[in-house]
Symmetry: C2
Subunit: 430 residues, 2 copies
C-alpha cells in the first residue's frame, strides 16, 4: 500500500503535551506500522518557550506564534492542548479547521460549547475533528460509540466522569475525613488542580455529558443540564449513606425519554453492592445502555498525562488511517434536535436530610407535609445530636416525581423547627 | 463524498444469522448514514432451506450452495455464521478470502485455529477479515484493542470470557445448587447449549485467549495453553471459597513475562470485594493492562443473537468505511513469534482441598510435605464430615511456584490417608 506522511504540530506543552511529544517520538515505528502511514512532529508551540520541560525540542520545531502553524501548508494535524473554551484554544481550533487541518483536542470545554459550529467546518472541509481525550481520558468511550457500538440505538449513557471528585468522595468514605481535609490532600497528591472548582461543582462532568449526548443520540449539543456539585456533601451524609446501604458518587446522566433529552449531574446514592459503588479513586466508568447490545461498561483511568496520551494517539491514528470524518458520528445534516426535559419531571427515590429542633410533634408534622405533597416515605433514620437539643432526620422516599420532592422541601424550609436548609440527594435504582 | 454500494451475503441462518438479517434490513438507512456508504443483502444461504425462520427471504436472495456466492463477482462481503473450525465454515472462509471478498465471522474455533493462514490471504488480497463477534459477543474488545487502545503496549489481558460457565458458577453460588442441577437449568433457560461441553471444559475460553493474545501482543497464534474447565467444582468448593472471602470464576489469562507468552484457562478464586467477583450471570468482562493507559475494563453481554449482532454490524461498518485491513492489528510481516511459558513456572497463592481419613498425625504429615516442597501455608480450614470418619482439609498457600504445588500434590496423592484426588484452584491476586 502507498504510504502517506502526516506532519503533526502540537500546541500547548504542559504535562500532557510534553508526555505526548515524547511518546510519539519513542513509538514512531510502532504507530506507523499499525496505521500504514508515517508521521512526524514538525512543529511545537506554547505560551512560554523558557518553561522547564522534560522534552528535547529541536531548534526548527519551535514556533513562536501558533498562527504561523495554521497557515503552514506542510501541517496536516494540529493537536490542541491549550485548554479553555475561549481565547487561544478557540482561535487555534477554529483557525485550523478553516485552513483544512485535521484537529485533535482534549478540550471538553471548547467542544461542549462550540462543537456544533466546529463540526460543521470540519465536515465542510473534509477534515477530522477528534476529541477522545476530552471525555474520560484513557477510557476509549468515543471511539467505542462511533465504532465498536455503531450498530446500537443508545437510550441512556451515565457513569462517573470525573476522577477528582470520585477520589474525594471515595477518600472521605474510606478515611472518614472532612470535605476540606480531603480536597487539600487531593491537591497535594496531584489528584486535583490547585483550583479544583470545575471538578467539584459538576461543570467538568456537565461538559462531558453534553458531548456524550451528541454521540449517543446523534443529536446537536443541548445546553440544558441540571448540575449539582459535591461541596455540600459532609461526613454525616457519607456515614448516613453507609448505614442505609449506599455509597455517594458524583454521576452524570443523559437519557432520552418521551422524545426529550434529560441531562443531569448530581451526587447520587448507589447501592453498596452495585458495580458503580466499587469504582473508587480516580477511576472513571461509563455505562452505555443500547439496543441490541444491552448494557456495556467501560472503565479506566480518567485523567493524567499517560491515560490522556492513549486517547490522543488513538485520535491521531484514526486520522492517519483516513477513518470516519464525522466528529459526532453522523453528518451534521442528519443530527437531530431534541427538546429538553426537566429533572422535576423525573422520578426518584430520594435521600432527604433535615436538621430539626427536638420538639414535640415535629416528626408528625414533617410526615404530614410529605404526605400532602404525594411523597411516600420508605425509611426514617432519626438520631439526636450530642449536647444539642437538635435532631438529624434522614428520610428515604419511595419513587416520587422530583417536582413533588422539591415542593415538599420548599414547604419544610419555612417551618420554624427546621434549623438548616434541607439536603436532597437522589438515589440511582438502576 | 462519493458513495459505494456493498453487497452482502449471509451464510448460516440460525438464531444469529436470522437476527442479523432482520437487523440489517430494519436499520439500513441509519447504518448507511454512519458509514457514508450503502449496502444490500443480496444473498443468503443455509444448510436447510425449509427450516422455520422468522425472516422474510426474497426468492432471488436464496442460494442453495455457498460456493456460488464465493464465485459471484457482485458479492463484496460474506458473513460466515456456520460455526466450527472445519467443514463448510472453513471452506467458505478460505474460499471467500481467496476470491477477494471481505469476510465477517463469529467463528472463534476457526480463527483461533486457522487465523494466521487466513490473515495472510486477506492481507495479500487486500480484503478485511473481521471477527469481533468471535470474542465476547457484545463487548467491543477487538475494535478497542485495534483502535481505541491502539497506542498501548499491552502486557496482560484477562477476564471472564464465557457466559455459560459464568452463569453456572454464579448460579451455584447464589442458589446453593449442585453443578448438574445448575447446568440442566442453564440448558432449560437457553443459557447453555444442549451440549455445553466446550463452554464447560474451557475450550471456548481457550480459543478466545489465543485470539486476544495475537491482538494484544502483535504475535502469531500460539497453541500452547493450559486449560482446565469447571466440571469438578462442587458445592463444597463454592462454600469454602465464601468462607475464605473468595468467589470462583472461570477465567482466561494471557501475559508476556520474560519475553515468553503464558496462556491459561482455569477456575480461579478472586477476592469477594474485587471487581471481577461482581461480574455475574452471563456477563463477560475483559481487563486490559497496558502502557500508557493503565488498566481498562470492558464489560457486557457475551453471547446471544442481539449482542452478537452488535459486533457483526460493527465489523460490516468498519469494512464499509474502508478501515484497517490487518485482521490482527498489524501486518503479518511484522507479527512476532513468542516462545511459550509454562504454568508450572508461574507463582500463585493456591487453594488445595484434601479429603483425608481422620487419623492421628495426618495434619502434621501433610504440613511436613508442603514444607519439604518449599510451599508455605497461609491458612488451614479443617472440617470433619458428618457421619464419616473423614475430614476435609482446605489449605491456602502463600505465593509459590506452581511446579512446587504440583509436586506437593503428587507426593500427597500416594499417601494412604488421602481418600480423593486432591483439588487445586489458583487464586488471582491482582
Amino acid at each position: 500500500m502507498k504510504k502517506r506522511f502526516y506532519n503533526i504540530a502540537i500546541v500547548g506543552l504542559g504535562n500532557i503535551g510534553s508526555y505526548l511529544f515524547n511518546f510519539l517520538n519513542k513509538n514512531k515505528i510502532n504507530i506507523s506500522n499499525k496505521n500504514i502511514n508515517n508521521f512526524k512532529i514538525i512543529y511545537v508551540s506554547a505560551k512560554n518557550k523558557n518553561k522547564k520541560r522534560k522534552i528535547n525540542i529541536k531548534k526548527n520545531q519551535w514556533v513562536k506564534n501558533f498562527k504561523t502553524i495554521i497557515k503552514d501548508k506542510k501541517v496536516d494535524i494540529i493537536v490542541e492542548l491549550i485548554g479553555g473554551s475561549e481565547g487561544a484554544a478557540k482561535s487555534l481550533v477554529f483557525g485550523a479547521l478553516k485552513s483544512k487541518k485535521h484537529v485533535v483536542t482534549a478540550n471538553k470545554a471548547l467542544i461542549s460549547k462550540y462543537g456544533d459550529q466546529l463540526s460543521k467546518i470540519a465536515e465542510k472541509n473534509k477534515v477530522n475533528l477528534e476529541f477522545e481525550a476530552a471525555v474520560c481520558g484513557g477510557v476509549p468511550i468515543i471511539r467505542s460509540i462511533k465504532e465498536g457500538l455503531i450498530a446500537n440505538k443508545i437510550n441512556r449513557i451515565y457513569g462517573i466522569f470525573n476522577g477528582t471528585s470520585n477520589y474525594v468522595l471515595s477518600s472521605m468514605d474510606q478515611n472518614k475525613t472532612s470535605f476540606n481535609t480531603t480536597i487539600n490532600k487531593a491537591i497535594k497528591l496531584g489528584y486535583a488542580e490547585s483550583n479544583p472548582s470545575s471538578d467539584i461543582n459538576g461543570e467538568d462532568v456537565a461538559s462531558k455529558v453534553k458531548i456524550l449526548s451528541c454521540l449517543s443520540f446523534n443529536s446537536f449539543i443541548n445546553k440544558n443540564i441540571h448540575v449539582e456539585g459535591i461541596k455540600d456533601i459532609d461526613e454525616e451524609d457519607i456515614s448516613n449513606a453507609n448505614k442505609l446501604g449506599y455509597k455517594i458518587k458524583l454521576m452524570g446522566f443523559s437519557e432520552i425519554l418521551d422524545n426529550k433529552i434529560f441531562q443531569r449531574v448530581h451526587p447520587t446514592l448507589v447501592d453498596k453492592s452495585s458495580y458503580i459503588a466499587g469504582v473508587n479513586g480516580v477511576l472513571n466508568a461509563v455505562i452505555v445502555d443500547g439496543k441490541p447490545v444491552g448494557k456495556n461498561i467501560i472503565q479506566g483511568e480518567g485523567a493524567g498525562p499517560s491515560a490522556t496520551t492513549s486517547a490522543l494517539v488513538s485520535d491521531i491514528s484514526s486520522i492517519m488511517r483516513g477513518n470516519i470524518k464525522f466528529p459526532f458520528a453522523i453528518s451534521n445534516t442528519r443530527r437531530k434536535k431534541y427538546s429538553s426535559g426537566k429533572i422535576t419531571d423525573l422520578f426518584f427515590s430520594s435521600y432527604i436530610r433535615l436538621n430539626v429542633k427536638d420538639r414535640y410533634g415535629v416528626l408528625a408534622d414533617i410526615t404530614k407535609i410529605f404526605s400532602n405533597n404525594k411523597v411516600s416515605i420508605k425509611r426514617v433514620l432519626q438520631s439526636p445530636q450530642k449536647n444539642k437539643k437538635n435532631s438529624s432526620i434522614v428520610i428515604i422516599t419511595h419513587r416520587s416525581k422530583d417536582n413533588y420532592i422539591q415542593k415538599t422541601l420548599k414547604t419544610l424550609v419555612k417551618k420554624s423547627y427546621i434549623i438548616k436548609r434541607p439536603k436532597l440527594l437522589r438515589i440511582e435504582n438502576d
